[in-house]
Symmetry: C2
Subunit: 206 residues, 2 copies
């Protein structure tokens, strides 16, 4: 039985459930979107679905140290949806500035299509949370963004340079991109910068 037949059977019993199962089964494809970051043992690259879980947990663990009061449940929801557009638009390396600009329209179209699989009000909520992440327009959006910078930084460092070494990204670029972390948490950026400085000292980052 394929996915379409499964949804047809579901719709025969309960159209409301079936409509939401179309969205739920579509999300499975995020497991196939491969990122540039290694899993910590360096064995393979991580995908955007497991990354989304890990960064949500990162935010939860670090939220007690946030610079200002946060609605943690909102941060978690933001991080659960923040990469869903990659199902259509793919993952573009954060250091690929031209690629990042080129993908903006594709991500907008992806948000329209994928969140549009849900009933209007429910899709709109997820879409608004994705916008909040992209625009970093709230304390929650900025803290989510900071955690989304920190998690791959840790994986890259513990993986011996990972994507930076592979792509020849310089220390200056790593600091410029990750320095945006400070908008969401000065405290996290202070630690991250010390880790990057230690990497420079140890010759892992040029």
């Amino acid at each position: 039985m394929d996915r379409e037949r499964l949804l047809e059977v579901a719709a025969g019993v309960d159209a409301g459930v079936a409509a939401r199962l179309r969205f739920v089964t579509e999300l499975d494809r995020l497991k196939g979107i491969v990122r540039q970051t290694p899993v910590l043992d360096g064995e393979r690259l991580e995908n955007s679905a497991e990354h989304s879980w890990h960064v949500a947990m990162t935010a939860w663990a670090l939220a007690p140290l946030a610079d200002e009061p946060l609605d943690l449940d909102r941060v978690i929801r933001i991080l659960l949806v923040h990469d869903i557009v990659e199902i259509d638009a793919g993952d573009v390396f954060i250091y690929d500035t031209a690629g990042r600009e080129a993908v903006v329209a594709a991500e907008e179209a992806a948000a329209e299509r994928i969140f549009g699989l849900l009933p209007a009000g429910e899709g709109a909520e997820m879409r608004a949370l994705w916008d909040e992440y992209e625009r970093r327009s709230t304390p929650e959006g900025r803290f989510a963004y900071a955690c989304d910078r920190l998690q791959p930084l840790l994986a890259n460092v513990a993986g011996g340079g990972g994507s930076w070494a592979r792509h020849g990204v310089t220390a200056e670029r790593v600091k410029a991109i990750n320095g945006r972390m400070a908008e969401g948490s000065g405290r996290l950026w202070e630690v991250a910068e010390a880790i990057l400085d230690a990497c420079i000292d140890e010759g892992l980052l040029e």
Copy 2:
């Protein structure tokens, strides 16, 4: 730079951040815990980290159809932590009853160790949410459990039988185990049962 050196550098700047980063980097190992369920295209088996994300999103999408009012943020938090003990105890196939019983003590020890990496109050919150899932002691725990049964059922059906076919699990067993879904959502179980009946009709399940 390995993980211990990274945590040492972090501790030199901010011991509070470093303590939580020990927990955060430990979580990476959940990406290496392989489950019996295929990803929908059948290409490989899913891991417990990406599963945790997917089932949290499943709950979010289906919560508007729950039988009783739910605190959805609590359901999401329960599902984010529900499989973390597998980092130490491994994933035991739900149809392996003897294996499930044997692993209970290992899971308790795992919860103690892993949530114990966090400062006491913070670790206790996650631990309590894991207990809530295991005991299905609240509407949120029961709904989380129902979604955790539904997501692999969908993947198994769309993957042509997946883990059931591979392990020779009968229709009767599949219905008995997944029927517990009804405790959390009668509506979801009604749809799931119709999908299973269609699988029996089509000879996918014996």
